[in-house]
């Protein structure tokens, strides 16, 4: 097996046993980026020198056997919404072109502390607004399983990198499904932690009350390892929780025997591919065979709410990033900069947010959305009184072709319909590979209560351990021979 095809856990053992060095491993992954990067377009920026420097430092640490951590020497990709000191961070938007933050996100600092190796910044939908990566301000990402297909979004670059061997693992961010949906569409594991579990400091915001950073990995164990490294309270993020972080590996292999798993009937939405539905039903049966009790539950308010987009007001071209130039006064300059700097989807959402908050419409839209959110939270609370976790598809279909939905924003939004409730409902969710439909991967979504990551991981692991789906490798990554 090639080094870039392996998991964090495998590679950690090899590094500790001195079978390989981090520099060798990093070289192998960088070579794979050279080989297939033009096909996936997964990265906006490859930080080769930084990666090799970090790999060297990790090797020193490994050699001295000094504070060796599970991620020491492991090459990881970062979604471009994460700030890294002195590394261009654009959130996939032209308006932030040339912006190099003078600070790192808390998760980035934590990974640095672990001794991880940063490969670069992965492509994404502009400001994480999108479900296909076609809204990137730079270029779309291609699915390593079929290059004419989207990888999902908005963390499509991170997903494609992990699925093509261009990274061992990656961080994504999830506001309405942006980790789980691309993970499902590229055959990897993606976990959206509960809001407050992971610090948002240094995450270029989309919807501040919903955004969470989470791991995108080859399997569930790797997901647990990566989450372990980034979770926990951060004094710089007042919305981060001070609840202690459990040892996720400790309960991972406990199995589902005796667990109560719910199947929300609303998650089998109209427009779901029959083959996807079949795979999910099979997955549920498998977990039942493993000893879980299954019951149907109802989440009646699985609606979509409109978050607000004032986070984008600061990009006015006066301080950093892109400035159009040529405006005759400040207002004109604002308009030119924002006209040229933002893409269509971002503009659409700025309009929606501005409209929804305008006087006269506030009650009808914003307050209504808040009420819907409250109902969704109540739905989950009710469901989790009866069951330990919920099961459903991550995406109603496998990856679609590039361009198939770009002209129809509503069809694109529907793609998120079974992932958004977990964000609005303050719960956590994980997507784990559960099969191939016409050669394209699909995912099983496990949703657990707020701060119930242990339960989500445990169910996902039980499923993964009983199946071979996660071992399938994309054609670009190559067979695991």
């Amino acid at each position: 097996m090639k080094l870039y095809q392996r998991t964090i856990r495998d590679l950690h053992k090899m590094l500790v046993d001195r079978e390989i060095s981090s520099v060798e491993l990093t070289d192998a992954v960088l070579n794979q980026i050279d080989a297939v990067g033009d096909k996936t377009k997964a990265y906006l920026l490859v930080t080769r020198e930084l990666a090799l420097r970090q790999a060297q430092a990790a090797d020193d640490r490994l050699r001295a056997n000094r504070d060796v951590r599970p991620l020491t020497g492991i090459p990881i990709a970062l979604k471009d919404v994460l700030c890294v000191t002195d590394v261009a961070s654009t959130a996939g938007s032209k308006i932030l072109r040339g912006f190099t933050p003078p600070y790192s996100a808390t998760v980035v600092e934590r990974l640095e502390g672990e001794g991880a190796v940063f490969l670069g910044k992965t492509n994404c939908d502009e400001f994480a607004m999108g479900s296909s990566n076609e809204n990137s301000g730079y270029w779309p990402v291609h699915n390593p399983w079929a290059l004419d297909r989207v990888p999902g979004g908005s963390s499509g670059g991170s997903a494609a990198a992990v699925a093509s061997g261009e990274a061992i693992a990656a961080l994504g961010s999830d506001t309405g499904g942006s980790i789980r949906q691309p993970a499902a569409l590229t055959g990897i594991v993606g976990l959206k932690p509960t809001y407050g579990r992971v610090s948002r400091y240094g995450l270029i915001a989309f919807a501040s009350s919903l955004d969470q950073i989470g791991p995108m990995t080859r399997d569930v164990v790797d997901g647990a390892l990566l989450l372990q490294a980034i979770a926990g309270h951060d004094p710089r993020d007042s919305t981060s929780s001070s609840r202690p972080v459990p040892d996720y590996l400790a309960t991972l292999t406990d199995g589902v025997r005796g667990m109560r798993l719910g199947v929300p009937k609303e998650y089998f939405v109209a427009g779901m591919e029959p083959a996807v539905e079949q795979s999910i039903r099979d997955a549920i049966r498998l977990l039942e065979q493993q000893g879980a009790s299954i019951e149907e539950v109802s989440l009646p308010h699985s609606d979509v709410a409109l978050p607000a987009y004032s986070n984008l007001a600061r990009y006015d071209g006066t301080r950093y990033g892109f400035q159009a130039g040529g405006g005759r006064n400040i207002i004109e300059e604002y308009m030119l900069t924002r006209q040229q700097g933002f893409g269509a989807e971002v503009k659409r959402r700025i309009m929606l947010g501005t409209y929804a908050l305008s006087s006269g419409y506030y009650d009808a839209y914003y307050l209504q959305a808040q009420k819907v959110r409250t109902l969704i939270i109540e739905d989950f609370k009710r469901a989790f009184k009866k069951v330990d976790a919920l099961l459903g598809a991550t995406s109603p279909t496998a990856a679609f072709e590039l361009g198939a939905k770009t002209q129809d924003p509503v069809a694109m939004y529907l793609n998120d319909i079974i992932t958004i409730p977990a964000n609005l409902g303050n719960v956590c969710g994980i997507s784990v590979p559960c099969g191939l439909v016409d050669g394209l991967p699909i995912g099983l979504q496990v949703i657990a209560p707020g701060f119930g990551e242990e339960a989500a991981l445990r169910v996902a692991y039980a499923f993964e351990a009983a199946t071979e789906f996660h071992k399938a490798r994309s054609p670009l990554m190559g067979a695991a021979a």
């Binding site: 007042s238 990009y315 207002i331």
Partner: protein
């Protein structure tokens, strides 16, 4: 004011913005020094609004706001939150200001102030907390400027907004309200009250209504007043202007007008049609505030004596008139100056007269505050002592005070005043000492028996006999010599 003005009732409500004297900014650890620091020196990703940065609430700023609210008799709800106020302006780095909308830290208070010997009450709608903006520096006049510079040192400085009810009925009341409010802010140590530097800023909502009518007339917001005098003049001007518009059958526009101090008039800035829609919504980067009753009780317990209480005390303890007591307590520094002067032994009424008379006159002419003067309570007390003992005439004392006031160190002027009248000839001092000894047999015996205290009394007698002109050190030496 014109006679027709009496046909209308003046209605004024004030919005006062007061910076809070914290070491660090509202949502980050940057220093709040924006006046002396080099441009943009005190900034960080948070107060510059760089993407990904997040605010963290400064607990001390919340505490100062609650302290202010308590001093203004407000209710402090148990639950409060921050909101985003959205608008574009180059001095606002995030494109929104973190402020408070529907759940402010406090509401429903009142402030009492005195006018013409009567106590008036003005309702306080709310005191809420927000962040200050940066500062723009235009190259030339704002509308023609080819370039503008932004200094973000002020961005994120904690700012309180104190909103009054429309309870004020004249320019005089508006001015008195702000004076009293400023005194309270100084007393509780949340703000220095410097209006010229913008630490304390005031906007006035001014409207007129026919006398006797309940509903309010069209409101005009007047901005840019940076002194008590400006507030008074601006409100007076606006009342006159609005009266003329109404009297000539015109209609008033709901608008924002700026006070031009040099020209003494208000100028239209923005009309209602262009009014901003701030699209407030809850700040998602900050958790709501749970204000525990214990915390409020703790803050209340820590409140110092407020101007109204101190005024009462000055009347009862020092026998001052209500007027003098009110004036003295209008500034914390002045009240403290007075109290210290009295404590050092100066008769209270005399001290009050000096502070409110000559001293205030000189300070006002120089636009200075009492704490800026080199004259300290010890100096004033000594000067008063020289008058009391007859060593200086009132006229000489006034001259001496002005010299003291102008000098960087009042000591030498005081010394000179004392010296010019001081008896230094030993012959005359000898006579005085003999007189003391002859007339205070018991004290002399006490001193012989070892009571040091008795000597102090004898020196005091000498000062009395000499009308303060004797040098106490010389008296001390001579008395010791002659008694022992």
């Amino acid at each position: 004011m014109s006679a027709i003005a009496t046909r209308y009732e003046v209605v004024v409500g004030l919005e006062v913005h007061a910076q809070i004297l914290t070491q660090s900014k509202m949502f980050c650890g940057c220093s709040t020094d924006y006046l002396t620091a080099p441009p943009n020196a005190n900034t960080c990703p948070v107060c510059l609004g760089l993407p990904g940065s997040l605010p963290v609430i400064n607990r001390r700023a919340v505490e100062a706001t609650i302290r202010t609210a308590l001093a203004l008799n407000c209710e402090i709800p148990e639950f409060s939150k921050f909101d985003r106020k959205n608008y574009f302006y180059p001095d606002l780095p995030k494109g929104y200001q973190i402020s408070q909308y529907d759940l402010p830290l406090s509401r429903n208070g009142h402030l009492d102030f005195d006018l013409n010997g009567e106590t008036r009450r003005c309702g306080i709608t709310r005191v809420h907390l927000e962040e200050d903006t940066g500062k723009l520096l235009h190259e030339g006049a704002i509308h023609e400027a080819q370039a503008s510079l932004v200094n973000f040192n002020r961005a994120g400085v904690p700012l309180m907004e104190i909103v009054s009810e429309p309870d004020l009925r004249s320019a005089d009341e508006a001015r008195e309200y702000v004076m009293r409010l400023r005194a309270i802010l100084q007393y509780i140590g949340v703000n220095d009250g410097d209006m010229e530097s913008g630490q304390l800023r005031c906007d006035a909502n001014v409207s007129l209504r026919p006398a006797g009518r309940a509903e309010l007339g069209t409101k005009v917001e007047v901005k840019n007043m940076n002194s008590f005098r400006a507030i008074h003049r601006a409100v007076e001007y606006e009342v006159e202007r609005q009266t003329q518009v109404l009297e000539s059958g015109g209609r008033l526009a709901q608008e924002t007008r700026g006070w031009n101090d040099a020209r003494g008039l208000t100028v239209s800035q923005r009309s209602k049609e262009y009014a901003e829609d701030y699209r407030y919504f809850p700040e998602p980067d900050l958790p709501p505030l749970d204000v525990s009753r214990e915390w409020v009780a703790q803050i209340r317990a820590g409140l110092p004596e407020l101007p109204a209480a101190r005024r009462e005390r000055f009347m009862t303890t020092f026998g001052l008139s209500p007027y003098d007591a009110a004036l003295l307590t209008s500034s914390k520094a002045m009240a403290e100056f007075f109290e210290e002067t009295a404590r050092l032994g100066a008769p209270a009424k005399t001290a009050a007269n000096w502070i409110l008379g000559d001293f205030s006159r000189l300070l006002n002419a120089d636009h200075k505050e009492i704490q800026d003067s080199s004259v300290r309570p010890t100096h004033l007390q000594e000067l008063i002592h020289l008058i009391e003992t007859g060593a200086l005439t009132g006229r000489m004392a006034k001259q001496t005070f002005e010299v003291m006031y102008r000098a960087p160190d009042p000591g030498p002027a005081l010394e000179a005043a004392r010296g010019s009248t001081q008896i230094s000839g030993d012959a005359e001092l000898d006579r005085i000492v003999d007189e003391i000894i002859a007339e205070n047999v018991k004290s002399v015996a006490d001193f012989r028996a070892g009571k040091e205290q008795a000597l102090k009394f004898l020196i005091g007698q000498g000062m009395k006999i000499s009308k303060g002109r004797a040098n106490p050190q010389r008296l001390d030496a001579l008395l010791r010599e002659k008694i022992q």
